[in-house]
């Protein structure tokens, strides 16, 4: 099952760092996401796009997982050679993860 079936995601960027926030459509799925969607798994899934560390924050009050991804490959907005210089599309790439 794709992550997209049960969650939505927003990508943000600060310089060379991407933030990816994941929210289950149904709060009842939050424990499953906490269990399955580890920082290691996200890092492995996005290995072509993220060079550095991935840090996961749990926000149970919001039923949210927040991933801070360091060193976007080819990132940095202004000096990036990528088509999506911001890394906005990383949210959709993450939702393609097969849980």
């Amino acid at each position: 099952m794709l992550l997209h079936e049960m969650a939505h995601c927003r990508a943000g960027d600060k310089g060379n760092t991407a933030t990816l926030s994941i929210f289950p459509r149904d709060d009842g799925d939050y424990p499953l996401l906490v269990r399955e969607l580890t920082a290691e798994r996200v890092r492995a899934h996005l290995a072509d796009y993220i060079a550095g560390e991935v840090v996961r924050y749990e926000l149970p009050g919001l039923s949210a997982l927040h991933f801070v991804c360091h060193e976007i490959i080819d990132g940095g907005v202004t000096t990036s050679l990528a088509l999506d210089t911001h890394g906005k599309s990383l949210s959709s790439r993450l939702l393609a993860l097969d849980l």
Binding site: T19, V77, T79
Partner: protein, 423 residues
């Protein structure tokens, strides 16, 4: 309990203007904030100022203000914006002229002091790379992120124009003034900063950047309404958008924007506070509470712009049977002929409709030209059926970050009065 209503009329330089007009006509706002200055926008604006000292403010300021200020002054809504970019005083003069030409009166205030190019240490390491700032390239700008304290003395005006200010501070200052908050009142400034953070991207709170057809359907995005907040003196806030506008404002959209670009939920640093959003709650009727904070940092973040050369992007399309292999062949040809050039070549799209994209960045204009020429020459020298070549070259300003101790930065306010008021 006392409340005030603050609206968000622009979330970036290219934002739509109609939603702000609608808020001014029907929103019964006290303040409208227009956030139009991205991280690198100020460096690009600095470039324009270097070529013409009367420029360097946000390019769309005249267009935006021509439509918005008559409505704002008629409705008694104060407008606060960072459209001053690299030249807030010139932005103030242009705004003054625009108001005077229409006999609208009004008082314009300009906040300066964010330009700190004359006092940063260029041998200090950049946060991003650890290398000295000066090693990145020719430095063209350095702007400190000012806080709400810099705006407070400017609020006795109808239009407040700034350069680089932390985005949430554009909201915190008017909230603190209207609700009687002391800037040292950490819990309330934390609450105000959260409101500013949620509103600063305008339509991203109300259903923009959210729709996913069949999964998250958002009605009438062509008529997206921008948000406002009713903020109470205790710091709690209820968010809304105008009836009849498109978009959606829900717990889901607010949660997404709450964490947007936050790199540490326990410590989101602004010039006003260190915000902790870990205990924030959002109800189904989009009431937001639970912001916490720590005392504001002693230093201010500074964005330093440097010349990073120019970027070329060149593309060509292949469609139909075997398109992906023809695209790959085209990439192979370009990479062989440009083996001495550091570049990125990728074939985007699907098996029967794809586009080769080649990008390179350099200070050497002739090299950038070669990249464009090589892609263009694929028309007659490359695989079958190549079409739609586009070559685009843009100057690149890189951004590096550093910090300055707060007392080194000295904000100031200049008021520009209407001719009859000054007489």
């Amino acid at each position: 309990m006392h409340t005030t209503r603050i609206g968000s009329g622009a979330g970036f330089s290219g934002d739509r203007i109609e939603p702000a007009e609608d808020l001014l006509r029907r929103g019964t706002l006290h303040d409208l904030v227009l956030e139009c200055l991205g991280e690198r926008t100020v460096a690009l604006a600095q470039q324009r100022r270097l070529t013409d000292p009367s420029l360097g403010y946000e390019k769309r300021l005249p267009a935006r203000f021509t439509r918005l200020l008559p409505l704002a002054l008629a409705a008694g809504v104060r407008v606060i914006t960072n459209m001053g970019a690299a030249n807030p005083l010139a932005a103030g003069e242009v705004t003054r002229s625009l108001l005077d030409a229409r006999g609208l009166g009004g008082r314009v205030a300009v906040v300066t002091g964010d330009d700190v190019l004359d006092r940063i240490d260029l041998d200090a390491p950049a946060w991003e790379t650890g290398r000295p700032l000066r090693s990145h390239g020719e430095i063209v700008s350095a702007n400190a992120y000012l806080g709400a304290d810099a705006l407070l003395p400017a609020l006795d005006a109808d239009v407040v124009i700034t350069g680089r200010v932390a985005d949430p501070s554009l909201f915190v200052a008017p909230l603190a003034q209207r609700l009687g908050w002391d800037l040292a009142d950490v819990p309330r400034i934390a609450a105000g900063t959260l409101v500013g953070h949620l509103l600063e991207c305008a339509g991203q709170l109300t259903g923009g950047y959210f729709a996913d057809p069949g999964y998250q359907d958002v009605p009438d995005l062509a008529n997206l309404g921008f948000p406002y907040a009713d903020v109470s003196s205790d710091g709690t806030a209820a968010f809304g958008k105008l009836p009849g506008t498109g978009g959606v404002l829900s717990r889901a959209t607010v949660r997404e924007q709450l964490l947007y670009e936050i790199t540490d939920p326990a410590a989101y640093r602004t010039p006003d506070v260190v915000l902790d959003v870990r205990n924030v709650t959002v109800t189904e009727d989009v009431r937001v509470a639970g912001a916490r904070g720590l005392t504001r940092p002693d230093s201010l973040k500074v964005s330093v712009g440097y010349r990073a050369g120019s970027k070329v992007e060149a593309e060509i399309s292949y469609v139909g049977p075997n398109a992906a292999r023809r695209g790959a062949l085209a990439a192979e040809i370009v990479m062989r002929r440009l083996a001495d050039v550091p570049l990125r070549a990728e074939v985007l799209g699907g098996a029967t409709d794809c586009r080769l994209r080649v990008a390179a960045i350099s200070h050497d204009a002739s090299l950038l030209e070669r990249v464009g020429d090589e892609v263009e020459s694929l028309y007659t020298n490359g695989p079958a059926g190549g079409g739609g070549v586009r070559v685009h070259v843009t100057e690149v300003i890189g951004i590096a970050s550093t910090s300055l101790r707060r007392e080194t930065v000295r904000p100031a306010v200049t008021f520009l009065e209407a001719p009859d008021a000054a007489a």
